[in-house]
């Protein structure tokens, strides 16, 4: 193993100019960390010692001024990075969606042409329809299963182990999950043993011929959604379980004394008390759903009517090389996210007060 690594390094040295990526990585860590620390240490020093020293005739005024500037010193690197990597792209994408690249360089203002062109493509409407389906099914499924798992594991002794196992898919990449589920959906010819568990069960139950789950339009969308539900349930469970534990015991005890059934306790006492948390979980998963790309890209790549907006956009950008329509699709995703964004910001502001 080590010899292999060394070999690799030697190979890169032979080529001369290129540094081995691992070394490059290491140096960027060292450089990045040193630069950060140096920036913060030095800028604070300069502020306190050179620009506004808290001494001399203007000591008081200087302290005040230093304290006015300091927050921005602390914020500057983060704000710059976020500005360039998130805020600027939003504006730029909006601009790109209203323009078109002219052959030979340069871009040209085309107004809403990209949007109009997009609205004439059946694939776009298919993607939008599927996204809506995803939006209905996945948050509901993941939150539902999560709530179920949270409630069931709450009071049993091995609950934590169970939770840990249900939570596990969270750590698996969407691509890894896609491979995992492709095996589940695998199809073999009818005369052979089925190695995908779905078809094995289907044939065992008396199915005539194995089904190709991922190529049956409309239904295949649900099989893709299942993958995301499988991943997100753990998230919902962890958060809802914490919320369930936060419910005051007295309310439940009172209900028991009044003779409520376990079902009634759950639906009429517990669920109403964790309504906000359910909403938070639901919206968080909704955001994930809107951005879902990897699963569709890996499993069907939008074929057999499984296109979604994120994959449609990727297709436009990097296969059709159409930046205008690609940006327009991105803006559509942004518009769908917007209500949740506004809601989140309003909640955050409420808390700040």
């Amino acid at each position: 193993m080590l010899a292999r690594l060394l070999n690799h390094t030697a190979l890169f040295e032979l080529r001369g100019t290129i540094m081995h990526p691992a070394l490059q990585g290491l140096s960027i860590i060292i450089f990045g960390v040193t630069a950060c620390v140096a920036y913060f240490a030095l800028s604070n020093q300069i502020l306190d010692k050179v620009l506004f020293p808290p001494r001399g005739p203007h000591a008081g005024r200087n302290i005040n001024r230093a304290n006015l500037v300091r927050p921005w010193l602390f914020l500057c690197p983060a704000l710059c990075a976020v500005g360039v990597y998130l805020a600027y792209p939003v504006v730029e994408t909006l601009r790109l969606s209203l323009t078109e690249r002219v052959p030979g360089g340069g871009i040209q203002w085309v107004g809403l042409d990209n949007y109009i062109q997009m609205s004439k493509e059946p694939k776009f409407w298919e993607a939008l329809r599927n996204n809506m389906l995803w939006l209905l099914v996945v948050p509901a499924g993941a939150t539902g299963f999560g709530l179920l798992a949270a409630q069931l594991t709450d009071r049993i002794r091995w609950g934590n182990v169970a939770k840990s196992l249900i939570f596990m898919p969270m750590a698996i990449s969407f691509v890894g999950a896609s491979v995992i589920w492709k095996l589940v959906y695998d199809v073999r010819p009818a005369d052979q043993d089925q190695i995908g568990i779905f078809n094995a069960i289907y044939m065992f139950m008396g199915g005539e011929a194995p089904l190709t789950w991922l190529t049956m339009p409309v239904w295949n969308n649900f099989f893709l959604m299942l993958v995301l539900i499988w991943i997100q349930t753990g998230f919902a469970m962890v958060i809802l379980s914490a919320a369930l534990r936060g419910i005051p015991e007295e309310t439940v005890e009172a209900a028991i004394v009044d003779g409520a059934s376990p079902m009634q306790i759950f639906f009429k006492i517990k669920v109403p008390q964790i309504k906000t948390t359910i909403l938070v979980v639901w919206t968080t998963i909704t955001i994930t759903v809107l951005k879902v790309f990897d699963i569709v890209f890996t499993m069907t790549n939008g074929q057999w009517e499984t296109q979604v907006l994120a994959n449609y956009m990727f297709d436009k950008l990097f296969r059709a090389n159409d930046w205008g329509v690609g940006s327009a699709a991105a803006i559509v995703i942004m518009i769908l996210v917007l209500p949740i964004l506004v809601w989140n910001v309003r909640n955050a502001r409420k808390e700040m007060r």
Partner: protein, 382 residues
Amino acid sequence: MDNIAGTKSTLTWVTHISVVILVALWVFPTLGLFVSSFRTTDQIASSGWWKSLFPSEQTMTLRTASPDTQVQEGPLFVIEGNLLDEGQDATIHSWGISSRAVDAFVPGEVAELRKGGTITVMANGRYRMEHSAAFIGSRGQRVFLGTTVAPEFTLNNYRNILFDPDNIEGMSQAFFSTLTVTIPATIIPILVAAFAAYALAWMEFPGRALLVAAIVALLVVPLQLALIPLLKLHLGIGIGKGYMGVWLAHTGFGLPLAIYLLRNYMVGLPRDIIENARVDGATEYQIFTRIILPLSFPALASFAIFQFLWTWNDLLVAKVFLVDATGETTVMTQKLVELLGTRGGNWEILATSAFISIAVPLAVFFTLQRYLVRGLLAGSVK
């Protein structure tokens, strides 16, 4: 409280069974991939992975050695040998010499051959054919074996994919690429975010509320919007596609969550500590590095795990900002997608590669789950 109303035992049982089912449903898919990665190509293709966990019944059709290997022992002509391959862990429970009665005999019994002579087969596969005259013909006798084959697993898939330098489909290079992307992309944003979070949590300045709101807003901005403008930017300023680009991108995309998590945590730290330090004449920089940073360790760890999982598992950002035509910087997720395209049916390759790529996140997950859960709770419930 549990044993009120006498329904306890049934209800408890229902709960236990439901949880078992739920856990099984959630673990099964991953387990299938894991088990498959230890099976040979033939095993995967011939039976479902769930069957490999138990001894399987197999009917084999084999031949004895051909008559030219016969030896003479006194008056008898004898052919001896073993029907099973060396190292094959199978037990024979029945055998036969006719396709109409494949399980006519048990091991040790003696069968009359149609052309004269006798044959006997032992449970371990050894056989002995005897005849008073020489055996004739060019082919050996056909024998049907009813066997019980023990579960059999191999590490060969991992050997091929991780340690075979000639295997261009191997994962070792992609593994290092992923690692190279992940580590700097996890460390750098923490530092940058920590300072900003401190300013947003404990410093008074105009516009603070607005900035916090902006961070919350940016938290949900879809990555998709950033792809083209940033790729354009990277190409424009000469970073191009490569590690530098992907580190910067991950740093930028990770910052809102980092700032949000850390700020929420820092706001909860006791005010007294900070005020006392201020009264004692500590500078803000000292307060931050000596007091806040060490106290915020749990939140830093939470974010580090998030960012690590996210960058390790990412496909889109790597595809757009890193992977170029040379393929030397291919990360594991990208490699898996390629393998799905070219080796869609070769489950031994796919399963092993996929498991290699998810092994590290799973290890991180199981060892540091505490911090992950804490981070999730701080990040979304308020």
